[in-house]
Each structure stands twice: as structure tokens, then as C-alpha cells.
Symmetry: C2
Subunit: 428 residues, 2 copies
């Protein structure tokens, strides 16, 4: 089929008419499908059910150093779980603080602490007139919601397949003292599934921020979340690279087991320099007596070590890989050569990023919704929910069943075609 | 034996000499005992081990409304756990938000949110020049640490067996707009084990604060933590009373299962008016996707209902009641009639409060430490760690074994006698 833009108006209208008939059929199916959030599916959750057996009434809930995990204490978490999370994050256990069930909460908390107490002796951000964050976009909506909630001005930065546009990042960060941080999902980025190139990570580690309390918020959410055995992205470990570059305190790094065991019942962790950790502990000791050590122990007993965790992730991949491939196949089958959309083909993570023709994303999402398929809201991948091109849509293939997903993807491509044609006809 | 103060100097010196010999014996025993923190003992933790069996690989982790507890979602917690915690807190489940493992963290978070965002549309506290809190003293050191960390000025208020001195509270709260809150442990207070009288609770509910964003931080940590079946304190439920008094939004109420199941692996909850909850949810939805629903379900499946929880608390009482009674007996045996100390005799909670002669507490704690018995630091029960009388010491009898506890209590009374005599001799 030829590119839509090369069709004449009559051809377009004919095509549109046929597509609308097809759309009507979907509308009559009473669909209720959800491709909006990066949620694991039931089969994935079932993979961790044996974790529920690792602790039982006869089990010894004492950890290696003799601590009774059931009681109070252990502000920064139990050693063996720091080792496990450290191996997962490629960091020394001494550089890790274990938290509760949500790394998002740790990020929120890190911003909140900077607002009220400042970072390592610097002025609390709430005492400053302007605080700004760089937001590589498209990016993760929940990151943007946190900075928006705190009234931090968000500056979009262009994302490329190599990571954020580092020329722009370096220029902004080195000249504007009000810029206090940047949101990064460095591996299998949300929503594109891009992984930062070695050059990008090295340039991050060598940033010379005007603000001495500038921090990179490095959300390594998908560090071991590969789709393939033989085709895995690898990124340079940022803490080590910062240390080498003489910038040891530049990064807060976050991760969790939310998409490894149970979302909401996993372990979150923060890795950073010892200086940063000391600074954070000043808060932490006033904030809690300690996080859930029993759940930390449960995770260690289940995985035993990082090898167990990696093997576990292969099972996740086996469940979700066919879903990513099905979406890719349907996108290719229905959209290739039409010149009305582009999409990413990640090696891991939870998302595919789709770009429509400019000005079509909102309408595509609305059409899909009307036929019973929920997508992430158009614009959500941009700060303040404002996609200047109105073109980016995040596709989350993991949660629906393969059968449902295929229907949803077919409908989605149909909506893309209809909305694109309408747009093109309007422009003729 | 006659009161120490009625002895002449010679009698005192003779008594002191004998006590010092006894103290030397303790020093040679190489003791290492801890009466410092309100930690459950191993036997208490063992009471909840069967909770580890309630969820297992074959269990259905779906809750009553069909939610899969393993997955993301459920911002404010699962319904059946709200019912359980609501029954425990004597509140409607609709007035409850479930949190993670630590009510201390919820209190910290409530202050932090007020600092950065204000309460229900009022100016964020971080934008004000002065923020003050009333601190009934002696009180809970970790409360005071939170307000100190946020630079909130703490004003001690006198504690009585009926609760805080309400004349003082009413006067201060109604005249000073900078006073934004008060810390309360209304039932089996930390450290005295006092429970607020009906009159006190009613006066709290009828406060007319100058500050519209004044909140009572009602830490009902020991709501069902009785020592006796037949001698239980009861306090008026504060949310209902505030509603009756036309002050529905005046209170944040906190509780947790930390001293019911496992400290650090329990469920924390906040109860408040729907207005306050709406205000809090504005933050919560940016802060997390939800707390640990699997652990919420685990608790519900273990207790089934509030009756199960109450029966469980009777087992706790059976373990710790003999400890409270042993301490009381030793205090009575060694100190009665000497006029050098007073102590409380609570019906529940985790502490006994001891008052030495003025100026003796620090030295008593130091002496005990030197012989291997750790007490809560003298002064800890006051804001900024400053007990103006240097007389209050918190005694925590739950953690040591009964045998150890008896040794520790004997040594403690010995230290009280020695230090008191030294003080009295000095003063003659």
C-alpha cells in the first residue's frame, strides 16, 4: 500500500470509509481492554507464589548477623538483602539503603527532603524562589507528577535513542543554578525502551552543574528486565563512573523488585555515595525505626542470590516477550509503509513508544477508548501532560492476555489509520 | 526503713557504704541488659508466627472486592483490612488510610506534607517564620525528634494522670496562631501509662485554636494493649467527639499493629475526617502507587476479625504482665517509704515512668549503664532531651527475660538509692 500522504483526497476518503466500517465492528464487540499501565499480568505474578512459602511458622526469621527480623531495628535494612539488591543494581551493599515497597516513594521522599532540609547542607529548596528539573521527554508520568506536586518547574529535554540530548543537558545544567535535578530512566527507558549509550552515561558522570546540590535522579527501574537472552542492553554503572570522574555525590540511584516479585509488596532501594547516604540517614533516623525486614528476608530466601533472580527474570521474559512481539507484528502488518506512525522495538522494560503524525495522539487515544481499549493518556509522557506535538503514546503490552492484546493492538492501529486519514484530508 | 531525707549525715554515709558494696557486686557480674526501648520480647514475637502460614503458594491472594493483592493499585488499602483496623481504632473504615509498616513514618509524613504543602489550603508551614508544637512532657522521644528535625519550636506542657494540663493547652492554643499541633499518646501514654480522662478528651474536641490549620496528632499506639482482663482503661473516641463538637477536621489519629504482630512488619493506619483524607490523598497519589496489600491481606487472614485480634492481645498480656508486676514489686520492696522516687502503675502500654529526686536522673542512668544495664537516656522524655528537673526515667520492661529484668530492676533501684543519698549528703 502506498503512503497515506501520497494518496489523493478521493483515495483517502475511500480508505477511511472502509476503516470506519471496521471500527464499527470493534465498537459492537463491547471490549474492555487496558494497555495503559506497566502492570505485570497474572501469569507473571504466579511466578513468585513460591516466595510465600519461604517464611512459615516453623522458619527461623533470624538473619545472618543474628538480627531477629521480626523485631524493631535495622534502619537501613538487613545485610543479605543489601547484597542481593547490590548485585542487582551493580553496587556495593555499603552504598545501599533498603526501603519499603515503593521506589517511587523513595524518589518522592528524596525530593521532599531536599525541599525541607536541602542536600548536604545547602539551602532547602523550599526557601528558594525557583527550583527547576530537567525532564527528558517523552518520559515517565509519575516522575513528572512528583516534581509538579512540589511546584518545581519542569524543562523538557529531547530524548534520543542514545539517551537525553547531552549537549542540551550540559548547557542547561552548567549555566542555571536553579536547575537542581534531572529525571532519568537509563535502561529500557519509559516509554521508549531506549538504553543510554556509554557516551551518554560518561557525560552524565562528568556534568559540571552550576548548582552544588544538583542530583541526577537515576531510576534504574528495569535494570534486569530483559526480553531476550541473546540481545540485552548494557549500561555503564553510574555511581562508579561518577566516582572515577571525581563527582562521587552526583547521583541518587533507585531500583525495586516491584516488577520482579509482587508490585506493591517488593523491596525498594536507593544507592548513592557514602556522603549522600549519611545525609539521608539524618532524615531516615527521624522518619522510621526501620523498614519491613521480614519482607527483605523473604526475598533473600526466595532468590538466594542474584543468579536466582536472573533466572527468575528469564521466566518473566518468556511470559511477556510474545506480547511485545505480537504488538510489533501487528504494528508492522497494519502500519508499515503508510508513513503515519513510528514505534520503538525495545530489548527490555515494559513499554513501546508510539509516535503518530503531529496532532493525532489525543484523538487516537480517544477513539481507542470509545471502542473499549484504554491507553495511557496522550500527553502523559510529557511534563504537565503537554506533548507539544500531540504525537506520543505509550503502549503497555504486559497486562492483557495475548489474545486480548492482539485485539487491542489491531484496534489501536485502526484508530491510528482513521485519525491520520482524517487529519490528512483536513490538511488537503 | 525511714525516709532518706530524715536520716542524719552519718546514717546516710553508712547506708551509702553498704549500697556501694552491693553495687560493686553487680559491676563484677558483667551484665548486659536493656530496659531502654519498647520492644516486644521473643516470646511475644513467637505469638504471631502462624501469621506466616496464612499466605502460601497455594493461597488465593484475591481480596473480597476481587482485587489481586499482588499487583499494583489500591492507593488507600484493601477494604477488609480497613474494617479490621477500623474496629481496632474504633473508626469507620471509610475514615481510614492504610500505610506501610510504620505509624511513626505516617506522622513524619504528615508533618512533612504540612511543611511543604500546608493543610487544606493553608500556607505551607515552611513559608512561616514560626511554627510551634505543644509537647505534653514527659512524652515520646521519637515524636519530639520529628518536630525538632523540622525546626518546629516545642513547648512542653505539663502531663497529669488525666492527660495534658488542659487549662494550659486551651490558653496556648487559643492565643498563639503559630501553634500548629500537639503530640498526644492518649491511652497508656508513653512513658507514664496514663489514659486521658473523659473530660480531657472532651476538652480536646472542643479546642478553639487560633490557627485554622492546627491539628491534634493523636498517636493511639496502645489502643488495645491492655495488661489486664478486668482492669482496662477506656478513652472516648476522639474523631466522633470532634464531630459532635463541630470540629470534625481537628485530628489526625494514628495506630499500627507494630506491637500486635511484628514490629517493622505490621500495618500502619491513619484515621481522620473525609476532608482531611481528601487533602492527604492529593499527596498520596503522587507519593506511591499503593502500600503493601499482601501484608494487609496476611493480617486479615491471620486475625479474621477484631475478636481474633483482641484474643491475640490477651496472649501478649500474659507474657508481659508478669514483667510489669516484677518491676513494680522490686520498686516497692526497695524504694517504698524512702522518699526518693515515684513511679506509675499502668494498666497497659509498654512503659513505667519513674521520677527520681530532682537532679538525679542522669546520674542514675549513668550508674546503671556502668554496671551493664541500659535505660532510656535521661531527658529523652522531654523536648530537646532537656528535662528541667532531671528526674524522669522511662522504664521499658517488655524486652528482657523475666530473670534478666529482675536483676536489672534490682540494680536500677540500687542506683536510685546510691545517687539519691549522694545528692542528699551533698545538700546537707
Amino acid at each position: 500500500m502506498k503512503q497515506y500522504s501520497e494518496m489523493d483526497k478521493k483515495e483517502m476518503k475511500k480508505e477511511l470509509e472502509a476503516l470506519r466500517l471496521e471500527y464499527d465492528k470493534y465498537q459492537n464487540m463491547g471490549l474492555n481492554l487496558d494497555m495503559s499501565r506497566g502492570k505485570p499480568c497474572k501469569e507473571q505474578l504466579d511466578l513468585s507464589m513460591e516466595m510465600m512459602d519461604t517464611l512459615y511458622s516453623g522458619a527461623d526469621l533470624t538473619c545472618e548477623d543474628g538480627t531477629d527480623c521480626r523485631n524493631y531495628g535495622g534502619l537501613t535494612g538487613i545485610r543479605e538483602c543489601k547484597v542481593l539488591m547490590g548485585d542487582m543494581m551493580e553496587n556495593n551493599p555499603d552504598n545501599i539503603i533498603l526501603y519499603g515497597n515503593s521506589s517511587l516513594n523513595v524518589m518522592y521522599d528524596s525530593i521532599s527532603r531536599a525541599m525541607t532540609h536541602g542536600i548536604m547542607g545547602h539551602t532547602p529548596w523550599c526557601k528558594l524562589d525557583h527550583v527547576k528539573f530537567l525532564c527528558p521527554a517523552p518520559g515517565y508520568d509519575r516522575h513528572f507528577k512528583i516534581t509538579e506536586y512540589f511546584g518545581i518547574e519542569m524543562i523538557p529535554v529531547k530524548m534520543t535513542p542514545e539517551g537525553p540530548d547531552m549537549d542540551e543537558v550540559e548547557k542547561l545544567v552548567s549555566t542555571d543554578e536553579a536547575i537542581k535535578g534531572i529525571w532519568c530512566v537509563p535502561k529500557y527507558s519509559n516509554p521508549q525502551g531506549y538504553s543510554y549509550s556509554d557516551a551518554t552515561v560518561r557525560r552524565f558522570a562528568r556534568l559540571k552543574p552550576a548548582a552544588k546540590d544538583f542530583r541526577i535522579f537515576w531510576d534504574n527501574a528495569y535494570c534486569i528486565h530483559h526480553l531476550y537472552d541473546d540481545n540485552q542492553d548494557h549500561i555503564i554503572e553510574i555511581l562508579a563512573e561518577c566516582k572515577k570522574a571525581g563527582n562521587p555525590d552526583l547521583v541518587y540511584k533507585f531500583a525495586s523488585t516491584s516488577k520482579i516479585t509482587f508490585p506493591g509488596s517488593g523491596i525498594a532501594a536507593l544507592a548513592s555515595s557514602l556522603n549522600n547516604l549519611e545525609d539521608i540517614k539524618t532524615q531516615l533516623k527521624n522518619q522510621t525505626i526501620g523498614h519491613d525486614k521480614v519482607n527483605q528476608l523473604r526475598h533473600v530466601r526466595f532468590f538466594k542470590d542474584i543468579h536466582g533472580m536472573v533466572e527468575h527474570m528469564r521466566k518473566h521474559a518468556d511470559v511477556i516477550r510474545p506480547k511485545f512481539e505480537a504488538v510489533e507484528e501487528i504494528f508492522k502488518k497494519n502500519l508499515s509503509g503508510l508513513g503515519i506512525g513510528e514505534w520503538t522495538k525495545p530489548n527490555g522494560g515494559y513499554f513501546i513508544s508510539f509516535d503518530t503524525l503531529p496532532g493525532c495522539a489525543k484523538e487516537v487515544v480517544a477513539r481507542a477508548k470509545k471502542a473499549g481499549v484504554t491507553m495511557t493518556g496522550a500527553g502523559a509522557t510529557w511534563p504537565y501532560g503537554k506533548d507539544p506535538q500531540d504525537s506520543n503514546i505509550r503502549v503497555a503490552p504486559t497486562y492483557p492476555s495475548l489474545a486480548d492484546l492482539k485485539v487491542a493492538a489491531e484496534l489501536f492501529t485502526l484508530c491510528v489509520r482513521i485519525v491520520s486519514l482524517e487529519k490528512l484530508i483536513e490538511g488537503k
